[in-house]
Amino acid sequence: MRTSVIPFGPQHPVLPEPLQLKLTVEDEVITEAVPALGYVHRGLEALAQNRDFHQMVQVTERVCGICSVLHAICYCQGLEDIMGITVPPRARYLRVIWGELLRLHSHLLWMGLFADSFGFESLFMQLWKIRERVLDIQEATTGNRVISGTIRVGGVSRDMDARQVHWIADQLTWVAHQVRQIEPVLREDFTIRRRTEGKGVLTSAQARELGAVGPVLRASGIAQDIRQTGYAAYGELDFEPVTATAGDCHARCMVRLGEIDQSIDLIHQALDRLPGGDIRSEVRGRPQGETLMRVEQPRGEVVYYIRADGGKTLSRVRIRTPTFANIPVLVKLLPGIFLSDVPVVVLSIDPCVSCLER
């Protein structure tokens, strides 16, 4: 077969969001891949210049629906760092609970899409069925299914009572049980391993050089997780970064599967140790200074660079999302693989295009 260029996207059934990859294909083998972006760029960073810094919380939450809470947490932590605000312990624990619920539903969502990328529809439906329960927990506690809208500068805006804490723990037990039933399928099923093992291998040296973040980095054997820095209440909870060594698509799936268990465990820990007290400290004055804040999102490390010059609005909010850091990895991984493996490799980095194009 002759060389042909396949426009993979921006509208493609296996891509959840608009991203274009121009694939040069020779006999079903990719020789070159160039990403084309900018289909949904919204200029949210520029919006920081005409929204006040409190209103920006809701804007950052909408950078991406799936990572919403963690964007807001990162932004608020940045401002709290600049303004020297101490967040009450209960608010820090609630942030962990909502952040981990988000990671849980995001990983289940990703696994469903991943299953869909290699044509495993029943697994896709099953995983999304489990995810629905996590969304129910989010709705019952924050009030919204996905974009919670509970994070504020200086704390959180909603509290949960003892009855809700028990209810969440019960629901999570159900989720954990369901995930345990699915686990052997993802881990051992012959057809899944056939499609994912040895595909898109990223060595640890390459991962470091290309600036990979999140599960992609950890699947290559580097145990780096921004939660280790102990922001929010992570410093008081027990966890170890989940890693794998193979660096292929199956390893990335296994890392995320391990993180689902880890998230459930972290929420249980946080619910058990949930301290009493206030949920919000008062915010006085206007921010002045600059900071770089990092938070571990489901897709990896998100970076907020915030600079404030004492005005009502911020002079610069720069958002580096995890997908932005993983696109160079994708460009590196695609050449040399078969066309039929492109969806698997593309989805293995968990591309979130709305994150990528703030």
Binding site: F120, E121, R194
Partner: protein, 283 residues
């Protein structure tokens, strides 16, 4: 003569009716396996009626010609089957239809369609030898390629040819476009090739392909039911059981690539078929 005309009519009408019904039941069973409710059983008919009502857009004349030829060949193959004609003739007629479909896809310049057609041809290449061996197996058992002779055979063939029936299972999975072999075109277009071989067909032409696929479904289930041709009830039961098993496999497997399909189906399918035939005719 009159009798033949009635049979011809039955073949023409029963083909799409039964094929569409099988498709509708398939969608409900698949949905239940995935913990969904699923569409109404008549959904495939609604889909085709809607496709037929759409504007006809043809990339080029060759594409339309290929679709008509595919539909005609599929119809002809089923009519020959209902008339209890020669099995070999039926197999070659349906193969012709399948090739026409791939040629129609090759007539357009879309890379998705091109790669899909390429894979479709590989699929045809993969299952045709097995289908031929099924015909040979039936011939060796009954002494004739004629379906009318097979229908009069007293013993169920599946008892003598169980491995050959398993080999036919591979053919059915490929022909019904089910995982793990839905490479050229998956049912819901969620694959790297969008809808692969069907990408550039639309409207009434796609509707005709869908009707052709119904004829193919009935034909392949008919061939499958020949393995227990002692009466209409066991025939229907065997076909239904085979179809149910394929739906189950479809929901328990990911899509694999064509290299694996070619290697595995040839190795396993041919081995099963040949072992069965050798065992039957050595002893």
């Amino acid at each position: 003569m009159n009798h033949a005309l009635i049979i011809l009519g039955i073949g023409l009408v029963a083909g799409p009716l039964l094929g569409g019904l099988a498709g509708g039941l398939d969608r409900i069973v698949t949905a239940r396996l995935q913990a969904r409710t699923g569409p109404p059983v008549w959904q495939p008919y609604y889909d085709v009626i809607k496709l037929m009502a759409k504007e006809l857009v043809v990339v080029n004349g060759w594409q339309a010609f290929c679709v008509y030829s595919y539909l005609f060949a599929s119809m002809l193959a089923l009519i020959l089957f209902v008339m209890q004609s020669d099995l070999l003739l039926i197999l070659f007629t349906q193969a012709l239809g399948a090739v026409f479909l791939a040629m129609g896809a090759l007539a357009s310049t879309s890379p998705y369609s091109q790669v899909g057609a390429h894979r479709e041809l590989l699929q045809i290449l993969t299952y045709e030898p097995l289908l031929f061996l099924v015909g040979v197996g039936i011939f060796l058992e009954t002494g004739s390629f004629k379906i009318s002779v097979v229908m009069q055979w007293k013993d169920p063939l599946i008892l003598k040819l169980p491995l050959l029936f398993a080999a036919l299972g591979y053919v059915m999975i490929i022909k019904l476009r089910k995982s793990p072999f839905d490479l050229a075109a998956s049912h819901h277009a969620h694959q790297e090739l969008v809808r692969g071989v069907f990408t550039d067909f639309s409207g009434p032409l796609l509707g005709m392909i869908e009707i052709g696929h119904w004829y193919d479904t009935v034909l392949i289930l008919g061939i499958c039911s020949l393995f227990w041709a002692t009466g209409p009830v066991p025939m229907a039961a065997l076909a239904a059981a085979a179809y149910a098993t394929i739906i189950l496999i479809d929901n328990a497997a990911a899509r694999l690539n064509w290299r694996w399909m070619l290697g595995h189906v040839w190795a396993m399918g041919l081995a099963l078929a040949l072992v069965n035939l050798i065992c039957r005719h050595q002893g």
